[in-house]
Subunit: 224 residues, 2 copies
DNA sequence: ATCGCAACTTAAGCAAGCTTAACTTTTTTG
DNA sequence: CAAAAAAGTTAAGCTTGCTTAAGTTGCGAT
């Protein structure tokens, strides 16, 4: 057999995909190892296999990049992940910080038939509950507006909160606590030098967000 | 570590459970091997492990039986399986012959939190789309009325179609084609000796069902 | 009662996906 | 630019869940 896709392989491909998309560079052994919580040796091992199967291009000491074939699989895994996340929020009413872990498991056990039904049921949505774009059935990503970390937002401008890292459940928990939901309009009151915090106003409320938080949430410019 | 539950172990326990429930006897190596499509040797192997973990009682050459602990896990797997089946039918509109395979995978990747939300969403249902009882969160099965294979039904009596094997997608497909749905009221017109078929009337339509079909669908007596 | 066959178990081995430890290459830095 | 540190690779070995092949047990038919 030319070799099947497995849960493990899907996770490797997805991790490489996310790295490529977020960082825009060839994925390194170390980073993928951290992402997947396995040893560096495991990555080198799998890199050889995926390379032989034509799913990534890999040269020793030079990092990994998805081939067209590999990207196709990765996009499919991401599609299943994000559709499940949205489905769990929309249909079962889970909170947006409760869905990532569930989707992480369901994404590997969902037939194309089923995920297409979920897609259809949701009305072919373009973004998941954290603002991540959902690949369509044929592997295309919706156009995403230019977004920046809130940390880079300019004082006096107005932004829309459009994305947050889905892996940090605690962060999302905090955002829920302070009523900062996706698509909220935020005005940048001030940026403090001394602790690098950002002061924002939304829904008539003004709060100060730490550097770490401001780096983790992403916004789209609305009004300069 | 005392040893985790795995997908494989869950499937072994579920198979033994189903055997015990359906046949009412200690599960044999051969039967479970067939059910799971693995070799007899694999069963013996796993029987030792499950026995050591206290999930089944097993004596060489004497078959396998679930312990209380093992049954608890099996009931939980069955609960997840049947809730998923019903959910897919009720919410996503899948046909009752399209859900078994999906549930077979999802049942192993669903947190207790998630399955409880599904249970709640469905209103704590008692039966799945094929008429199988759904174990409650605490592991109790709903009371099931006395049911018999249609093949044993008596001429001149009226029955309700209450259960069908969920594994035979082709059979269910046929039932859909002839409009024989769960909970349909059926009158036994005749039982033919020469081909052992059963003639039934439901919804004003009369058809003849082969021995094999009449053995595979289950009914509850309504009117003698 | 015992023979023969079906059922069952044991033994040896394999593939996947990991690990740790030792070694090599690349990158950083004084 | 050379030495040290970091990153990456290789080698050996482990666990899980299987396989096939060989050997053992139990049971129904004679
Ligand atoms: Mn996620
Ligand atoms: Mn997400
Ligand atoms: Mn089923
Ligand atoms: Mn069922």
């Amino acid at each position: 057999m030319v070799c099947m896709s497995t849960v493990s392989k899907e996770n490797y491909l997805k991790a490489i995909f996310n790295y490529n998309v977020n960082i825009g560079e060839s994925a390194t052994t170390k980073k993928i190892a951290e992402e997947l919580s396995v040893s560096n040796a495991a990555i080198t091992d799998m890199a050889k296999k995926l390379s032989e199967e034509g799913l990534i291009s890999y040269e020793k000491y030079k990092g990994m990049e998805l081939t067209t074939e590999g990207e196709k699989i990765a996009l499919n895994v991401v599609r299943r992940h994000r559709l499940w996340e949205l489905f769990l929020v929309k249909v079962l009413g889970l909170n947006w910080n409760e869905v990532h872990e569930e989707a992480e498991k369901l994404e590997h056990q969902t037939s194309e038939f089923l995920i297409d039904r979920i897609d259809e049921f949701l009305g072919y949505p373009e973004f998941d509950p954290h603002g991540h774009p959902i690949p369509s059935k044929n592997g295309t990503l919706p156009k995403t507006p230019k977004i920046i970390p809130l940390y880079e937002a300019e004082k006096g401008s107005t932004y829309e909160f459009v994305r947050v890292n889905d892996r940090d459940s605690e962060l999302i928990n905090y955002l829920m606590k302070v009523g900062l939901l996706l698509n909220t309009e935020m005005f940048i009151e001030d940026k403090l030098k001394f602790d690098e915090s950002t002061m924002v106003t939304y829904n008539g409320k003004t709060i100060s967000l730490s550097k770490k938080i401001a780096e983790s949430i992403y916004v789209k410019l609305l009004k300069k």
